[in-house]
Symmetry: C2
Subunit: 214 residues, 2 copies
DNA sequence: CCATGTGAAAGTCTTCACAGCG
DNA sequence: CGCTGTGAAGACTTTCACATGG
């Protein structure tokens, strides 16, 4: 893990892990870079480059041993530790994310929701994730060992919330609010902008109509 | 709109529009590329390049006229038409997306939810989006002029669902299911992989610990 | 022989630096 | 003068092509 790994690469590693899980369940023993490439519509050399960052994971003439590669990538991605995650904002989106089965399946533990509304605090999501007052964030985060926060609050309060999260000692934030957020350089902020995603489709449709392509 | 516009560029255009809306509300008349750059942590030249794709939108020595640039970008992104959107999958995530205020605010109309479960069909989301049987997709899509579908179903049914969507004549798809989906070349598929996003944070935390950076 | 690992080439995106124009 | 628009340079990412080794 010497040189700098790009986010493009790490995102693809996640995809590889998921597919390796499937292969392992099916009892497949080895897989080649070209099979992986076919699965994801990528170039085989790119996949080998991605994996070669982490040492000689493959076997020449054979490919990659599914179980070994899977274990290796899980360790690299830190998925061998059941990270504790909290969701800030118990609105529709926050509640949906708290109960999203994909997070659990990949080894995350959603341990708490936070909100400011009195009538929500003390309640639970459908799958039983408890809603705390945001003021309890620091304490609960410490107690539960929360290392990742997911922000699902309205744009107007997002900056305030992210600051609270950072003050509570959380260094990794997944943000679903629109708009720019500022975090210290030692905090990793990843934003998913739902509106931008939809608008890129709108652009595609507009440009198809006007004769471009998109 | 001659040469090919990259998705990086169109994604940023969405951000610019949102900020221009704010500026316009505040009564700001003009804005320079360096102010925009500061807002988003980007390089000013990049912003000028993004905008220059679409003609000479700026005024030398002055900057960009907020109202004009906003209108121009909205037209480019196709946001001047209130596109009709449907959500496939009335689970937690689908319902949350159907009621997500950000979509409406940016000019989209969420006109229908679709599901296969009898007990859901005929119900409505909190804000009153009706749930139809997926079998009605073609008819409702045609009647309501739906041009964008959002996929929020479990991974196992996603490929089947996306095929149904394409058969109904919808050419733009926003996918929230994990895993690779195949669509014809004239269909634009944009995927948001929630698990990959969380895992990139996990990688960051793991690499910080092991002395790298991430 | 076969598939990996990897320099070199190609392609893409961003930044620099400055000419051009209101 | 100030800020846009842009050619050229630089940085980053992907693909090619092949040497390497089980």
């Amino acid at each position: 893990m010497r040189d700098e790994i790009s986010e493009h690469t790490t995102n693809r590693l996640s995809l590889y892990v998921r597919f390796l899980n499937e292969l392992d369940e099916k009892g497949v023993r080895t897989v080649s870079s070209s099979v992986l490439a076919g699965q994801f519509g990528l170039n085989a050399a790119l996949i080998r480059k991605d994996l070669a960052h982490f040492g000689d994971l493959g076997v020449r003439g054979v490919g990659y041993v599914v179980k070994d590669l899977r274990r290796e990538l899980q360790a690299i991605l830190g998925l061998d530790r059941k990270l504790a995650v909290s969701i800030i904002g118990a609105g529709n989106l926050g509640l949906a994310l708290a109960d999203y089965p994909g997070f659990r399946r990949e080894g995350f533990r959603i341990v708490a929701l936070f909100d400011t509304l009195r009538e929500k605090v003390g309640q639970e999501s459908r799958t039983g994730v408890r809603i705390y007052d945001i003021q309890e964030l620091r304490e609960v985060a410490h107690r539960e060992g929360i290392t990742i926060a997911v922000i699902a609050v309205p744009a107007a309060s997002a900056q305030q919330v992210v600051s609270t999260v950072v003050e509570a000692g959380i260094r990794a934030v997944l943000n679903f609010s629109p708009g720019a957020l500022r975090v210290p350089p030692d905090v990793k902020l990843k934003s998913v902008d739902l509106t931008v995603s939809l608008e890129s489709l709108s652009f595609y449709l507009a440009s198809v109509e006007s004769g471009g392509r998109g």
